[in-house]
């Protein structure tokens, strides 16, 4: 078993954990981020609506509201510095009935209470001028210009790569199974060894209750609220460029339609309360519910042009609300719990606050002499023009080999995604970093090529290549294995 000795341990490599990691990576402190999953990216952090909210509809006066409202303006600078796909698409909240129309005033008022002052009322005609595909039943709407879209996985990966470039270490497939406070720090038992750390940050999302529980903190519980989504093919003539939001009801925020930074659209999510924290499956009923709901606002929605579905599990804390906690009797422990639905959007401000709290708790804040605040993404062949493509090919000849037809991804990009830190180690890791395999043919063409490249680059056999970590191998052996094994007596 391995042993690690660090200054700061962050449990959870989702949106919160990696944002905190990036902040802390500027300091001399030795840092380790661990995650029980096979890759960075988190759980809910990678299966969501990919929206960077403004906070216009957050509970006014709450910690959540402050975090979201303060994070939103930080995104364009960060995404520019770290080469993360980000777009200020804007959102239109659509009131399609008189009852919904009556709520708009309150929503506007709430937005102002949340210090989101740039929400504009729209007449029905203005809504339809902006987005002709919206239902002709529209009464009025609200424009929220700074609601934006981002690639959620790349948001996390880019921050992780930047933190790693500044010395941060990552351990995946590392589940925390024990945590005790010692005289001069913490002893953390994990599936990859024992970790000793002076400070521990709990950014474990769905499992924040389990981690705090190890320390005897049992005043809250976390359960899952599943959200199912459909992804709609960008070739569909929907023509929608804004996020389309429904008027929320007492029970639910409702189901939206959002463009993605890659040109597709998402519709969803459902809101299903579940005890099982690994219930990531989609359901027929849930998906049908999503389509029916969004069709109310976008009648031309054709569910025949879906590419894929996914489900994310929101961590729901009870008692609810964002909680950033330190405990007098557990010095060095920082718990970041209750972050839900707006975690991605709030992450940048949360990271700054977490950093400040750690410094208040005594963490030294001497900065490293040199750090980098920039990160270049993997140069993208698809988005380059012919001249740029030729340059890419000159820089790396593997750019001439297109292996993913739908997304025009080349071998060079797949190889680079494997050799980044933290890099892709499996098919899903490649898919999320360079988009190979998540287009409309869902790895129909590249289905064999990606595993071959992974096997080659990692020096493993094809049978050892997995979809998402150990236990998810895609092949079981060689073609002749069953006949050779089973029938000696013929």
């Amino acid at each position: 078993m391995d042993r690690y000795n660090v200054d700061v341990l962050i449990i959870g490599a989702g949106a919160i954990g990696t944002a905190v990691a990036r902040e802390l990576s500027k300091f001399e402190q030795t840092l380790l981020v661990v995650d029980r999953l096979n890759d960075v990216g988190g759980d809910a952090s990678k299966s969501n609506s990919a929206i960077v909210h403004t906070g216009f509809d957050a509970p006014p006066g709450s910690l959540e509201s402050q975090m979201v409202v303060h994070s939103n303006p930080m995104f364009s600078g960060l995404c520019s510095a770290l080469d993360i796909p980000f777009k200020q698409s804007g959102a239109i909240l659509v009131a399609a009935s008189d009852q919904e129309d009556a709520e708009l005033q309150d929503i506007l008022k709430k937005a102002r209470e949340n210090h989101v002052f740039d929400v504009e009322p729209l007449s029905a005609k203005e809504v339809l001028d902006l987005e002709p595909a919206v239902t002709p039943e529209v009464k009025r709407g609200l424009l929220v210009p700074r609601e934006s879209i981002v690639d959620p996985f790349l948001l996390v990966v880019a921050q992780a790569e930047n933190a790693a470039a500044n010395g941060m270490q990552f351990l995946t497939d590392c589940e925390v199974v024990g945590l005790t406070r010692r005289r001069d720090g913490f002893t953390v038992e994990s599936t990859r060894g024992v970790i000793r750390s002076k400070y521990v940050v709990n950014a474990a999302g769905l499992y924040t209750d389990r981690v705090s529980g190890f320390l005897g903190i049992d005043d809250f519980k976390v359960h899952a609220r599943r959200g199912q989504f459909h992804v709609i093919d960008r070739a569909t003539p929907l023509g929608i460029s804004h996020i389309i939001l429904p008027v929320p009801t007492k029970i639910t925020k409702g189901k939206l339609l959002a463009p993605t930074v890659h040109g597709n659209w998402l519709i969803g999510p459902t809101a299903e309360e579940l005890e099982d924290k690994s219930a990531h499956q989609t359901t027929k009923a849930g998906l049908e519910e999503v389509v029916a709901s969004v069709k109310r606002l976008i009648p031309s929605l054709d569910s025949g042009s879906v590419i894929t579905q996914y489900a994310g599990l929101r961590p729901v804390r009870e008692p609810g609300g964002y909680h950033f906690r330190r405990f007098d009797d557990i010095p060095g422990y920082l718990e970041l719990s209750g972050i839900r639905s707006t975690g991605l959007s709030a992450s940048l401000a949360v990271a700054v606050v977490a950093k400040s709290m750690l410094i208040e708790m005594g963490m030294p804040s001497d900065r490293k002499p040199t750090t980098t605040a920039k990160r270049e993404g993997i140069p993208c062949f698809r988005d380059a023009d012919t001249l740029a493509r030729e340059q890419l090919i000159r820089s790396d000849p593997r750019y001439d080999h297109v292996i993913c037809r739908c997304e025009t991804v080349t071998e060079a990009e797949v190889v680079q995604s494997i050799h980044r830190t933290p890099g892709a180690r499996d098919i899903d890791g490649v898919k999320r970093r360079v988009r190979a395999g998540l287009g409309r043919c869902q790895a129909g063409f590249c289905g064999m090529r990606i595993p071959q490249i992974i096997a080659r680059e990692l020096g493993i056999s094809l049978e050892e290549v997995t979809k998402k970590g150990k236990g998810s191998e895609i092949l079981v052996g060689v073609t002749k294995m069953m006949r050779m094994g089973c029938h000696e007596d013929h």
């Binding site: 459909h230 992804v231 070739a235 690994s278 990531h280 499956q281 989609t282 359901t283 027929k284 849930g286 998906l287 569910s303 879906v306 590419i307 894929t308 579905q309 012919t386 493509r389 030729e390 090919i393 000159r394 000849p397 750019y399 001439d400 080999h401 297109v402 037809r405 025009t408 080349t410 409309r440 043919c441 869902q442 790895a443 129909g444 063409f445 289905g447 064999m448 071959q452 094809l462 049978e463 997995t466 979809k467 998402k468 970590g469 150990k470 236990g471 998810s472 191998e473 895609i474 092949l475 079981v476 052996g477 060689v478 073609t479 002749k480 294995m481 069953m482 006949r483 089973c486 029938h487």
Partner: protein
Amino acid sequence: MKTIDCTVAVIGAGPAGLAAAVGARDSGADRVVLIERDESLGGILQQCIHNGFGLHYLGRDLTGPEYAEHFIDEVRSRSITCLTRTMVLNLDRNLSMLAASSGGMIQIQSKAIVLAMGCRERTRGAIALPGHRPAGIMTAGTAQRFINIEGKLPGKSIVVLGSGDIGMIMARRLHLEGVRVLAVVEIMNCVGGLSRNLVQCLHDFDIPLYLRHTVTDIRGTRRLEGVDIAPLDDNDRPDMSRKIPLECDTLLLSVGLIPENELSRQADIELDQATGGPMVDQYFHTSGAGIFAAGNVVQVFDLVDHVTTCGIKAGGSAARFADGEIRHWADDSCPVRPGSEVRCVVPHRLTPGGDGPVEFYLRGDSVMRNVTLLLHNSSDETMFSKKLLAVQPPEMILVSLKSIPQNRGAEYTFELQSGG
């Protein structure tokens, strides 16, 4: 950047492309370039190691690779330039293409182009199959590639969703390799492929076929552990009270083929909603002047022999267009539409001024016995009728019309009627 000028460029070197290249050259095209994204020629045929190819066109019962080799030899003996490991990324209406190949980008300017990119498989996502998303779920074609080309087995116990030909053929293939094939599950009330395959792939090996059933749940978080299947009730909804759990580690999807139309869309070529591929006239000319299309990229064929016939015609037409012998249909052609009980018909248009018989390739919408195939014009006159013993969707209907008035303004409809 390397530039290539040619008379006819063929995109895709599967059976349609190989035939088109041969057809173009034999019709006098000077420089014919055959472009293939894979390392070798032959396209999908190289992984279709089973037999049944060439019964009509060559009078022989060949395997896919044997059929491919025959036409690869035909191509090689005709001074046709073959660009393998080359993917066309851009197609312009002015007949220029941009491709990525080893060594760099290539610009290709042609006088005529034949699209022969074949088709891709419908995915789990496209049919919104619910459940977990573990490893062990793949399309039948991907599994076929793994087993037959790479020599790797995708699983040890398999359920096949979809009883099209590829699904049944893979069921047999896996059974022969010692894999447990638990079931072939089909949502329709009849088998989706040829009867020959029902007998020789499923009956021969007692592989259970569940008609009017579908997969309702997928279990397993990392690797597939099992699926639930359930019969459809009278409202075509799964009857969960009669669901059957099947323990398996692999689910193969054989739920339909869709023409590969990335380039067609890019070049703004008019697509047929029924087939998903470009609309073509009897010369296989698409709505883009100088752009022809043949094979599965137009509509999914069940016999490769017909793909070859269409490919040769399309290549020949492309050569004649490059030579100025035939012109584009522009607004001049007569539409041919699928009517009652006909799902789709190719060609979609008849360009006036043509001579010689025209072959139509149709698919019926349902299983029917003792039918009459009729062709009407817009004045409801019957231009043609033919009695057929039986039709079923998996088997394409071929009909050759010797003479058909190709007058301007005419509109034609094919329909199938019960009763001889």
